[in-house]
């Protein structure tokens, strides 16, 4: 199986190179036969990367510890489920996983373009995809091969890091990769559009689903990472602005900006240069994320260490950036928009300002992440840039973004009339003022939470007003009751309302983030049996502790009775786990979640006389972070549900 893996990787690389050679020959000779052969070669790559991936999973399942990668990330005691997911636990496997996903996506592109094979742009799309595949396949074949063998056969492997033995960790890396890799497709279409000279908005229309799907996967990946951190790391938070977290967030921000301005280009055929630049940056920043993780240039809680791959990524990113910007420069005349904006007060303008804020957020996050390196290079001083810095710098920007999210639906396309604007603003504005007064009366006086909650009211009302007026208008036109008109409107115009749902998700997330950060309660104490710890309205009484063996770990679990304002809410059971082959024990969080607040309990230490150290937190509104996040995802998915093809000549309205 090791040989099958090795040969499959090698053949995948060979066919990627063949694809490029055939396609370039086809383009130069204008010979259709070469392009057809190039297409087939590209699909063949997917077959061989799939074979290599299956081979690696098989090696994990069969405990082949002579394979260095298997020995490093698995052991005999590891449950079968985690053996399969250990595939992407380390660098070598995750690079093979990247290549595999990209080759499958490339095969889907080949299928999708089956009717466009005579298009001038199509061979260029395949060439860009194949070139990206060459980079990753060359890395895993020659530099960091997952099928490398040890000179001896160890009796057992080192095992998977206990922190990674969590359901969230199964889906977090692959969804992130699906997001990163997904952006390769619109990037390939953009490059192909410039290389072929076909610079209308057709490339954007063809890649709309890819853009949003990649964004959805990246969003899910980030959310799952946050959920994993929340339940696994035991510090009571979900986002620490760690360099590796930032590495996924930066391309997400730029991709979000791109999705917004792509809408403008589709509708108005303007901002072509800007969109080309944004998709180029999104792709490069996706690579940069991997570079940051693999180069070891920054200290991170995600301790991947220096892997020697940084240089390769740096060169590849450099080539992509130089090549991409050269193409944009050479196509600049054709890309320049003939149409213009008609007014400051137009939705196009608000999209532009939304882009400025999103990019400022991306820039400040990138700059803050890299600042320790800059500082060390200039002053020789090693400094740390962590959570407080990012919270301080980015919070005002997030609030500005939230404001623009609310303003956008209030302003019409092209040019808003002053009367309409006044009419649209009145209700959200009054709702915000009323909400602010209620918040103040309720005792919320801190500046940022007050502004954040008030803006949430403003944005939520603008969005709900959109749903209301849309459903009412449809109901009036079709004679439908509102309860029927609303879902039909949502379905018929899912792209528009999917976007609004995503914005509503953002509002819910901001509510969760603000509540859980600003009003968190915390207490820590060491208890003997029968003693009680109080946090806010909660009291936790230490009843007993148990110990047992479970799969590949020994578990110590304390049972605590929970009371809120004196009323019993049942029990809660934080754990301490000692994994086989692991150096340190891990703490397992025990959670009691409601929509109002989370009771978050960890047990950092167990004493000799069975006294326990408890860390208890009350995180208000935290569940809204996840609800909001997955509402955003749902909005994105609704926006890309394909419609039925209409019969030609059909003239039915609504």
């Amino acid at each position: 199986m090791v040989s099958i893996g090795n040969y499959s990787q090698l053949l995948a690389l060979f066919f990627s190179l063949t694809t490029i050679a055939l396609l370039l020959t086809g383009i130069m000779k204008n010979d259709f036969r070469f392009i057809m052969s190039g297409r087939r070669a590209l699909v063949t790559v997917a077959f061989f990367t799939s074979t290599a991936s299956i081979a690696l999973v098989y090696l994990f399942f069969t405990n082949n510890f002579q394979v260095e990668y298997v020995a490093s990330y698995s052991n005999r005691a590891l449950p079968l489920f985690y053996k399969a997911t250990a595939f992407w636990a380390g660098q070598k496997g995750s690079l093979l996983f990247w290549a595999w996903i990209l080759s499958l996506f490339s095969a889907v592109v080949v299928y999708n373009t089956r009717d466009e094979i005579d298009s001038k742009a199509t061979p260029y799309i395949y060439t860009v995809l194949a070139a990206t595949l060459v980079f990753f396949l060359a890395l895993i074949t020659f530099v960091t091969n997952p099928f490398d063998l040890l000179r001896f056969i160890p009796p057992d492997g080192k095992g998977l890091n206990p922190m990674l033995q969590n359901p969230g960790m199964i889906f977090h890396p692959p969804t992130l990769f699906l997001g990163y890799v997904g952006f390769t497709i619109p990037f390939a279409y953009a490059i192909a559009a410039m290389a072929s000279g076909n610079l209308d908005e057709s490339w954007l229309k063809k890649t709309r689903v890819w853009n949003i799907l990649a964004w959805v996967f990246l969003t899910i990946g980030i959310l799952l990472g946050g959920q994993w951190a929340y339940v696994e790391l035991g510090w009571g938070g979900y986002w620490a602005w760690d360099p590796v977290e930032n590495a996924s967030f930066i391309p997400w921000l730029v991709a979000t900006a791109f999705i917004h301005t792509a809408i403008i280009q589709e509708r108005r055929n303007i901002m072509k240069v800007w969109n080309m630049t944004l998709i180029l940056l999104t792709f490069v920043l996706s690579l940069f994320g991997t570079y940051l993780v693999r180069s070891g240039i920054l200290q991170s809680v995600h301790d991947f260490g220096a892997t020697g791959l940084g240089g390769y990524f740096l060169v590849f990113m450099g080539v992509v950036l130089i090549g991409g910007f050269s193409l944009i420069a050479s196509s600049y005349r054709k890309l320049r928009s003939e149409k213009v904006l008609e007014s400051y007060l137009s939705r196009e303008s608000t999209f532009l300002f939304n882009n400025v804020i999103l990019l400022a957020l991306a820039f400040s996050t990138l700059f803050g992440t890299l600042f320790p390196l800059i500082s060390e290079a200039v002053t020789g001083n090693k400094i740390t840039v962590s959570m407080p810095f990012f919270n301080r710098v980015n919070t005002p920007l997030f609030l500005a973004l939230l404001l623009v999210t609310g303003l956008c639906p209030l302003i019409g396309w092209r040019k808003a009339s002053a009367d309409n604007l006044k009419k649209n603003f009145m209700l959200p504005f009054l709702a915000m003022i009323a909400g602010t007064i209620i918040l103040l009366v309720a005792g919320i006086r801190e500046f940022y939470p007050l502004v954040a909650f008030s803006l949430c009211i403003f944005v939520a009302v603008t969005i709900l007003r959109e749903f209301w007026t849309g459903a009412k208008a449809r109901g009036k036109l079709k004679g439908e009751p509102l309860i029927v008109a609303f879902p039909r409107l949502l379905w018929r115009m899912r792209r528009r309302y999917g976007g609004f749902i995503a914005h509503l998700g953002l509002v819910l997330m901001v509510i969760g983030i603000t509540g859980s950060n600003a009003y968190k309660l915390e207490n820590q104490a060491t208890l003997t049996k029968g003693q009680t710890l109080n946090v806010g309205a909660y009291s936790l009484r230490y009843d007993r502790i148990g110990k047992w063996r479970e799969w590949n770990r020994e578990v110590y679990a304390a049972t605590l009775s929970v009371f809120k304002n004196g009323t019993s809410l049942g029990t809660i059971r934080p754990e301490k786990r000692f994994y086989v082959n692991a150096q340190q024990p891990t703490t397992e969080v025990s959670l009691r979640s409601t929509l109002l607040e989370d009771l978050y309990v960890t047990m950092p230490a167990i004493g000799r006389n069975w006294d326990i150290t408890l860390k208890v937190m009350v995180n208000p509104l935290l569940q809204w972070v996840w609800i909001g996040g997955f509402t955003m995802v749902a909005g994105g998915l609704i926006a890309i549900i394909p419609g039925r093809k209409r019969r030609v000549g059909s003239n039915d309205i609504l």
């Binding site: 229309k205 790391l233 510090w235 009571g236 938070g237 620490a240 200290q299 991170s300 809680v301 301790d303 928009s337 213009v340 904006l341 008609e342 007014s343 532009l352 400025v356 804020i357 990019l359 400022a360 820039f363 400040s364 700059f367 500082s375 001083n381 400094i383 740390t384 840039v385 959570m387 810095f389 301080r392 710098v393 019409g412 040019k415 009339s417 002053a418 009367d419 309409n420 006044k422 602010t436 007064i437 103040l440 005792g443 006086r445 801190e446 849309g470 009412k472 208008a473 009036k476 036109l477 115009m493 528009r496 703490t587 950092p604 230490a605 419609g643 093809k645 209409r646 309205i653 609504l654």
Partner: protein, 163 residues
């Protein structure tokens, strides 16, 4: 709504907001977690102290709690840690010297981006002389688009896109 009708509402709202904002906020005593969020754990885990649960972090927390009990201020406690372990113990760079760049550049970036956006919007709106047009010029004689019309327009655009 005409402006004279808006005035009393605006005045009442502003007065209420000022009065409510002037009311005192609760909880001014220094807590350990306020200090913890400003410091890094020194065990080498690259985590902010209030997010780390290792033994070193516990010891640092105990030290902080002791200093708070002694009546030291947040600044004094942080200075004591910096004196012992250097500036790298701070979770965010102090706002002085070269570090000011860390705080200034993102703001400058936003200002530059915003300015650029304004310049572009100005340029684009003036390219075919539309900047001085009134609503009536572009909105079809001043008739606003009704919600029903907007739904119809969106639906038609969607159909064209699907075709």
């Amino acid at each position: 709504m005409t402006s004279y009708k808006m005035k009393p509402l605006a005045i009442t709202t502003c007065t209420l907001l000022i009065v409510l904002l002037a009311l005192p906020a609760a909880g001014l005593a220094l807590t350990s977690s306020e200090v913890e969020s400003e410091l890094m754990c020194t065990c080498g885990c690259s985590m902010v102290l209030n997010t780390c649960s290792c033994g070193t972090a516990d010891q640092m927390r105990e030290t902080i709690s002791g200093m708070i009990r002694e009546g030291r201020t947040k600044k004094q406690i942080i200075n004591a840690f910096v004196l012992k372990s250097g500036e790298s113990i701070l979770s965010s760079p102090p706002r002085k010297g070269f570090n000011l760049i860390a705080y200034g550049v993102p703001i400058a970036g936003l200002a530059f981006g915003g300015l650029l956006a304004i310049v572009f919007v100005r340029k684009w709106t003036s390219r075919n002389g539309v900047e001085n047009r009134t609503d009536e010029d572009t909105e079809g004689g001043g008739d606003p688009i009704t919600d029903e019309m907007q739904v119809k327009i969106d639906e038609e655009l969607r159909k064209i896109e699907e075709d």
